[in-house]
């Protein structure tokens, strides 16, 4: 196909594009290698791959934009026949944000901190819409409510830092839609959003695409979202396309070993297996040999694979695949390898939370003196949970549900308003971390969401691990080294990692170090705060597997917080569902995820997306996220699809107990 034909026929076209940077040796190191793809009007394609696969670079290239240091080695990118890389600045300015818009990754950092939300969206209107200036503020409000932001006129007056991550993300989406684009590039647009919000936004995008014939390029590692939105899926690995086909072909029976591994590493709601980790990591740019880029991680690789680079050819399923052994890929299993069985746990209590209430509002001196400090509405209230030894308790709920708040309080970082936390022998745990004894501190360890921020970048892994070992066990010298090496072995990293700095490790490796640091204290309880959500799915599976191994070896209890219900299901013995800091439901995992559940649990489960093109979520219409709990009655009253009447608004719902300690707080009687 010549390029003249391409420009006539295709709306978005990438033609044999290679992008790279100049390496130390002076040669060009490719980040993208000979990519060709086309997107038609009204079509949605998904770009899938781990971080570093070049998918974001490709999306930016479609806008004719290269990050600093990157250069086009060969090939071209065009939009509606317009060659993007050779366009003059003026002409690019009219296309970008107008006919062709992007929703960026990291929306938090993509909004200008000194400009109000309304001004930033109005800027897009001013540049790219024919609306008169006077109509802008009404249109801004309309766009903000379209992306389901509560109270849009207030939001438009706010600055970016005054919004939560999910709200910033939705502002970025509204901003991209302001120019009424003909093509929309989405770079991980829903990562970090709550399941319900994500599902609603995806529906909105689907509808818009259908109504306006907007083309979409959806970059994500979330195959569930891809399955919901995309007609066609392209899987990228190490800067090249390894699999391309219809969503059905790619997601049902992926014809490439990498895509299969990726799919198998995703925890799914209906699957009780531990997802299968994809071992190894992708080659760094420039490190790809003459053969297949995936050869080192491939379980069906043969000698031929490292000798010759496979071409993209028609595979057995109809999708185009870059594999020498396309006919053998179905040897690679798609389901997890280890059944997470119902475990028999001892009755010994490891931690007892009794009527815990936590508030961020700090009473000032005046309120303390007048005794008004107790009137503050608690962020988290009435949490009574007894955690058994070795048990994993999953905490789920949308952002603002108080999951992390509870963890912070257990860690002693946020003293409760009232209520108590008792440890195994019934002694109360001091509320503040500074009042806790060394052994109490040792018993409870925490792992944070982002290992980049929780590991000191100036300390070597040895120093990081030595801290708890010295502090709690007084280890030094040879004993210290031996134990550190042993810990690294436990988290499947070798002792040779001891001398490295966190910056020399991948995201998954860093999180393993964070896990090792927590286990160095030989804790009874480990608090896990969204510890896999910053990781690629393949790495997430490995960390989940690791956590499962460690609790078997050490009999450790976990409190596992995540907004991903499928991930929570994989590990948890029991799950507690929280809304606005109040318990809605708690019980054994199979019961909470089963037939009988709280209306809120049903809403959450209904919004979970499966990596299956035929699956559609069940959404309730009034799913706007609320900013604060209602004054009286059931916390979920305003959003409940099964509301029975005034009683929901006025009376705190009674607890209803079912078998095996499964409890639901709801006024309904027909469970």
């Amino acid at each position: 196909m010549t390029s003249a034909e391409t420009t006539e026929r295709d709306f978005l076209a990438i033609n044999d594009l290679s992008i790279g940077f100049r390496g130390r040796a002076g040669t060009m190191v490719p980040v993208l290698r000979n990519i060709s793809l086309t997107v038609q009007k009204g079509e949605s394609i998904g770009l899938v791959g781990e971080s570093g696969s070049g998918k974001s670079t490709l999306a930016l290239a479609m806008m004719g934009y290269l990050k600093t240091g990157l250069k086009v080695i060969e090939g071209s990118a065009s939009f509606d026949g317009i060659e993007m890389f050779t366009q003059a600045r003026k002409s690019l300015e009219t296309i970008r944000g107008g006919r062709l818009a992007l929703i960026p990754q990291n929306s938090g950092q993509s909004l200008t901190p000194t400009l109000r939300i309304g001004a930033q969206i109005a800027e897009a209107l001013r540049l790219h819409s024919s609306l008169p200036e006077t109509a802008h503020s009404a249109r801004v409000t309309e766009l903000l409510s379209q992306v389901r932001l509560p109270d849009p006129s207030t939001i438009s007056e706010r600055y970016p830092h005054e919004l939560s991550g999910g709200q910033q993300q939705r502002v970025a989406i509204a901003m991209a839609l302001a120019g009424e684009p003909e093509a929309l590039l989405l770079d991980e647009p829903t990562t970090g959003l709550d399941v319900t919000t994500q599902a609603h936004i995806l529906e909105l995008l689907r509808d818009l695409a259908r109504e306006t014939g907007m083309a979409m390029v959806y970059v994500s590692h979330d195959l569930g979202a891809i399955a919901r939105v995309c007609d066609r899926v392209i899987v990228m690995y190490a800067g090249e396309v390894v699999l391309e086909g219809s969503a059905k072909q790619v997601l049902r029976d992926p014809g490439h070993p990498y895509a299969r591994g990726l799919l198998a590493s995703i925890p799914q709601l209906k699957d009780t297996h531990l997802p299968r980790a994809l071992d190894g990591r992708p080659p760094a740019p420039g490190q790809v040999g003459n053969g297949c880029a995936f050869v080192d991680r491939c379980v069906i690789a043969t000698e031929n694979c490292s000798a010759a680079r496979p071409e993209l050819t028609q595979g057995p399923s109809g999708a185009k695949t870059r594999c020498h052994h396309a006919e053998r890929v179905n040897e690679i299993p798609l389901i997890g390898h280890r059944e997470v069985s119902q475990r028999n746990l001892p009755e010994t209590i490891s931690l007892n939370l009794d009527d815990l209430a936590i508030s961020y509002a700090r009473p000032n001196l005046f309120e303390k003196l007048t005794g008004r400090e107790n009137q503050a509405t608690a962020t988290v209230d009435a949490i009574t949970i007894a955690l058994r030894k070795g048990e994993t308790l999953g905490l789920v709920g949308e952002s603002g549900s108080g999951k992390s708040t509870i963890l912070k309080s257990l860690a002693g970082l946020l003293p409760p308003l009232h209520g108590s936390v008792d440890v195994a022998d019934g002694t109360p745990l001091p509320a503040r971390v500074e009042d806790r004894s060394a052994s109490q501190l040792r018993q409870i360890q925490m792992i944070f969401q982002n290992p980049d921020e929780s590991l000191n970048p100036r300390q070597t892994i040895a120093q990081i691990l030595a801290q708890p070992l010295k502090l709690y066990f007084g280890l030094s010298g040879e004993a210290l080294n031996e134990r550190s090496a042993q810990l690294l072995e436990q988290v499947r990293l070798g002792a040779h990692y001891l001398d490295r700095l966190p910056s020399q490790l991948s995201g998954g490796e860093k999180q393993r170090v964070a896990v090792a640091r927590a286990f160095a204290a030989e804790p009874d309880l480990v608090l896990c705060d969204e510890i896999t959500s910053a990781l690629d799915v393949s790495v997430q599976a490995a960390v989940l597997e690791l956590l499962d191994d460690l609790r078997r070896e050490n009999d450790t209890s976990y409190v596992f917080v995540s907004h991903d219900l499928a991930v929570v299901r994989v590990l948890s013995d029991r799950v507690a569902v929280l809304y606005q800091g109040r318990l809605c439901e708690i019980g054994p995992t199979k019961d909470v995820y089963g037939e009988t559940s709280h209306p809120y649990t049903e809403v959450l489960l209904g919004a979970v997306l499966e990596p299956d093109p035929d699956f559609s979520p069940t959404l309730s219409a009034n799913d706007a996220v609320e900013l604060s709990p209602p004054k009286a009655g059931c916390p979920f009253q305003r959003r409940c699809p099964k509301r029975i009447g005034d009683v929901c608004d006025t009376v705190i719902p009674p607890r209803r107990d079912f078998a095996d300690g499964h409890t639901i707080w709801c006024h309904r009687e027909d469970f």
Binding site: T68, S110, T114, E123, H161
Partner: protein, 319 residues
């Protein structure tokens, strides 16, 4: 916001108070006192006692501190040992002269530094940047007395455009300082511009690489609108504090420059008072300079707070 402001004001007052104690104790610890310095070789016996009686130096240190600090709060800085003049009066003229010097340097230097810093950043690694940055490094690293001497050599000795030394007396009307004041202003401008422009340049470069600058480009915002709406308001925030420090440095009496040019400002007054062992004057000037630092930094903090929405509003994000 208001509570924050009051707290900062209170902290500023406490700082000045602590500094006043340090100054007083420091002067106290020096061997001898105002009388021994004033009377020199005759400082003994009856004469010394009388002098101490007159100045109240025989009272306890605590009482004298209270007296000094109390009067200073009311604007009375005491009496100089040399010539028994009201220090407030002496200092008044010197402060005015230093202000003339400082405001001249500020009026030229700050806009120039902002402009050159932004230009150097926007045309990073281009010729204009290389010239500006290299000049800035020279201006910063060459000591002021060397650059001052060089300027005197060129502009007053060789070219004869302006006088190389200030001969106007401290209490002369401001207009009489022209054109003598121009060379000292030029030297100060050179140094402060270099300092500020380097901060501005690196701040703008950092902001240019930010995600929101990239986003603005991908939103199709024309280049100059990106610069003025998205880059500069964010990039200039961190420079406010550097500007404030420079201003404080200028107002604190630029000792070296004033000495080189024989300029009758606060800095030279302090040097003179030290060599004359005029302790009350030294004490007074040290207090004034400390207060200037506190006030200017406070102003910078308040300005940053007003300009930066992240500091202005309550942090609403929670876990």
């Amino acid at each position: 916001m208001l509570a924050m402001l009051l707290r900062r004001l209170g902290l500023g007052a406490i700082t000045v108070w602590l500094v006043s104690i340090i100054i007083f104790v420091g002067v106290e610890m020096l061997p001898g006192d105002t009388c021994t310095a004033f009377l020199e070789r005759e400082a003994q016996g009856k004469l010394l006692e009388n002098c101490r009686e007159d100045l109240g130096l025989n009272r306890s240190a605590l009482v004298r501190y209270a007296d000094w600090a109390g009067s200073a709060v009311r604007g009375d800085l005491g009496v100089s040992a040399n010539g028994q003049k009201q220090i407030s009066e002496l200092v008044g003229y010197r402060l005015r002269n230093t202000l003339l010097l400082a405001s001249g340097a500020m009026l030229v230097g700050i806009p120039l530094a902002l402009f050159l810093g932004v230009v150097a950043a926007l045309w990073r690694d281009k010729l204009v940047d290389i010239v500006v940055s290299t000049t800035a490094i020279f201006a910063m690293t060459i000591p002021e007395f060397v650059s001052a001497t060089l300027l005197i050599l060129v502009f007053s000795v060789w070219l004869g455009w302006v006088p190389g030394i200030v001969l106007t007396s401290a209490d002369a009307p401001l207009i009489e300082f022209f054109p003598e004041v121009l060379l000292p202003i030029a030297v100060l401008t050179l140094v402060m511009t270099a300092h500020i422009l380097r901060t501005v340049r690196s701040s703008v470069i950092e902001t240019l690489a930010s995600d929101y600058a990239q986003m603005a480009t991908l939103k199709g915002v024309p280049y100059w609108q990106i610069v003025f709406r998205h880059i500069l308001p964010n990039a200039l925030l961190p420079t406010i504090n550097v500007v404030a420090l420079t201003i404080a440095w200028l107002l604190g009496g630029v000792v070296v420059i004033e000495t080189v040019f024989n300029y009758p400002g606060l800095g030279r007054m302090m040097i003179d008072s030290i060599s004359d062992r005029d302790l009350p004057v030294t004490q007074a000037i040290a207090l004034i300079i400390a207060s200037v630092y506190v006030v200017v930094n406070l102003a910078a903090d308040i300005l940053t707070m007003l300009a930066n929405p992240r500091l202005r509003t309550v942090h609403m994000r929670k876990g």
